[in-house]
Symmetry: none
Subunit: 217 residues, 4 copies
């Protein structure tokens, strides 16, 4: 019989991950000591090691959470009437989220994880798994758009999907270095580009979305 509820266990887990996220976001993974996570989480070292076997496992858990979140965002964006609209929704969803300071903190940790992936095969696998899903989904959207004529550009759908992801990752980097960098002008460029690269009929709806985003900011 469990002594405490599953909810309590889950809440402890989140407590640790939240503390770690904050520390990692500020100082990076390697400069954050377990002691700092201990302090910030108001737990003891032993308690933390009851939930995570190592510091690296905390990073992995954070990476995992990110990708679960991204899958959700992606799934939500995929219910679009046509591929072109789907691309716009994805772009808006991912870039738009960067207006939220908390999301930006998470993305800063994401940048650390990107670097960590170069060293740790385990984390690299997690990162790739997080990218492969979106890439396949975007590639499929583009393929469908090309087939139906909505997308006029005759390019490799997979490479085009990579470009979409690069536009997002690249901006995450720039915003990580310039915390006050506004999302909107960048989003406008991305939307305009998507718009221009698709067949003409889509243009109007894009401008509407763009204005809406400006209003939100």
């Amino acid at each position: 019989v469990p002594k405490v509820s599953a909810a309590h266990l889950e809440s402890r887990r989140r407590q640790i991950l939240a503390a770690a996220l904050e520390c990692f976001s500020r100082q990076g993974f390697h400069r954050t000591t377990m002691q700092e996570i201990v302090l910030r989480s108001n737990l003891s070292p032993g308690a933390i090691y009851r939930y995570f076997a190592s510091k690296e496992e905390i990073v992995q858990a954070i990476a995992d959470e990110r990708h679960a979140h991204e899958r959700e965002v992606l799934a939500a964006a995929q219910g679009a009437p046509d591929p072109a609209e789907g691309l716009r929704r994805v772009a808006t969803a991912f870039l738009g989220a960067l207006d939220d300071p908390e999301e930006r903190a998470r993305r800063r940790v994401g940048v650390q994880i990107w670097a960590e992936a170069l060293r740790s095969p385990r984390i690299r696998r997690l990162v790739r798994r997080g990218i492969d899903g979106p890439r396949a989904a975007l590639g499929e959207l583009i393929r469908r758009g090309q087939a139906s004529g909505t997308i006029a550009l005759p390019v490799d759908p997979d490479a085009a999907a990579r470009a979409m992801i690069a536009l997002f990752h690249g901006f995450v980097l720039q915003q990580a270095w310039e915390p006050n960098l506004a999302v909107h002008p960048y989003l406008a460029v991305v939307e305009a580009a998507i718009d221009r690269l698709l067949a003409q009929p889509a243009s109007r709806s894009l401008r509407r979305r763009s204005r809406a985003a400006k209003a939100r900011a």
Copy 2:
């Protein structure tokens, strides 16, 4: 009077940086010990500390070198007859270089530095300085292109420059995680996109370049 020639000093410096680059590329900055750099450079700890005051200073020097290199590439690309052609040349120069395994190793270290920039104001300044130049140059190209009508897209030139950089950085990341990722299909997409986002007259020359790149691969 200096006891040893400036050339000797410079050669020692390069010896250290080369050793460090190799270590960092393999294991990342934090997992690389000074002892490893000592071993690989065939120098002593004391010798290394004569050239660099700290491990971090080695990272800074590497970051510095990168940006000097980028400025050169950028300068070479800027002597283009028209802005659109300039953009294409920049894209080809930066992305094309990623076909070289050595450049890829350097870029892997670049990814580490990007992450490190989140933590160290000094490195962040270096990274931003390395980005700001290209961004300004690209922004100016786009502005001139818009003014002359070569570039039809009515978007914020600075944000558009950011997108260009993001397309590059984002691909660097993806290639860091997938070392065998080919540059060509991606470059083709970027060129096609540039082509499409510019006024029609530029189209032909783009296709020529694209075919040439394919032939190279």
Copy 3:
């Protein structure tokens, strides 16, 4: 009134000691964690601490049990018709028991306890108490043998008793390091030595015992 029966309490105690013995035998006292004893005993940490105030107290209890057992073996062997026969019986009883794998496991823990006695005055007292009884008994046997002429060797009875114990402890050590070491050849040497060190009349009965031991093996 006690809530649970004394039998239940005693059974719990034995459950813990058995689990501890197995762990200690495998990995030694210091490398065995309470958690491992918890797992093997199918109890909870709290439950174990209700029966033993500390890990060390478990070791003490095991040492205690050992000595109670030895006292029994010794008492059984003391009912011999003459001192010489008594010595032989003691040797056979203690060494012969080492044919049993379980006894060997217990002796392995005994070796740990011997080492632990160097550090802990409490355990040292237990070990000495366990040795002093046999030593006095053996010494008395030898003294009586010398007085009655059965034992011809004119040596210090106490030192001779120590030698008997050393012959046993020393073999326990060797068997601990070489688990497959057979008892019989060693027992034969000890019996032959006892035989030779006693006056002649005892010889015949010794040979009978020796043959019996060989038959058992």
Copy 4:
């Protein structure tokens, strides 16, 4: 080129081993912290780890030294005119050394190592290697004594060698638990037993040795 002489390096090594031996002798291997060895050796943690890769390696080095020492003692004792005299010399050399307080301290650590051998295959190998040599040498002595008629007891030479070793190890244990235990009475018993177990001619010389030992004490 080495920066310091090999002698200096060796002296540092001995400094560490001496400090460790003292700590281990007092508190045992597991209760001794590296910090204590650091303090007692007047070195820094880093310095110690330059000479020994781990705490366990220090134990191994101590075990190694012991066996080298034992080989020497054994070799010296083997140059005896006849096997029986050889046995006596070995007994006197090994037991006699226990009169020295420093040797006793080393033997206390030896007891720790005996226990540690049950857990660590590496240390077990060292211990066995240290025992196998003497056992073979003693066995050979006994075999030769039996062949030449000096040793009258018709027993397995290997088992008899084990008994000799057990007489020594067993006494080391008893002295470890009773630091003031005198060697002489025990040595007298051992010598008398050797004497009695050999053919008569040897008796006289043994008594002389025994008296000499008494005089020394």
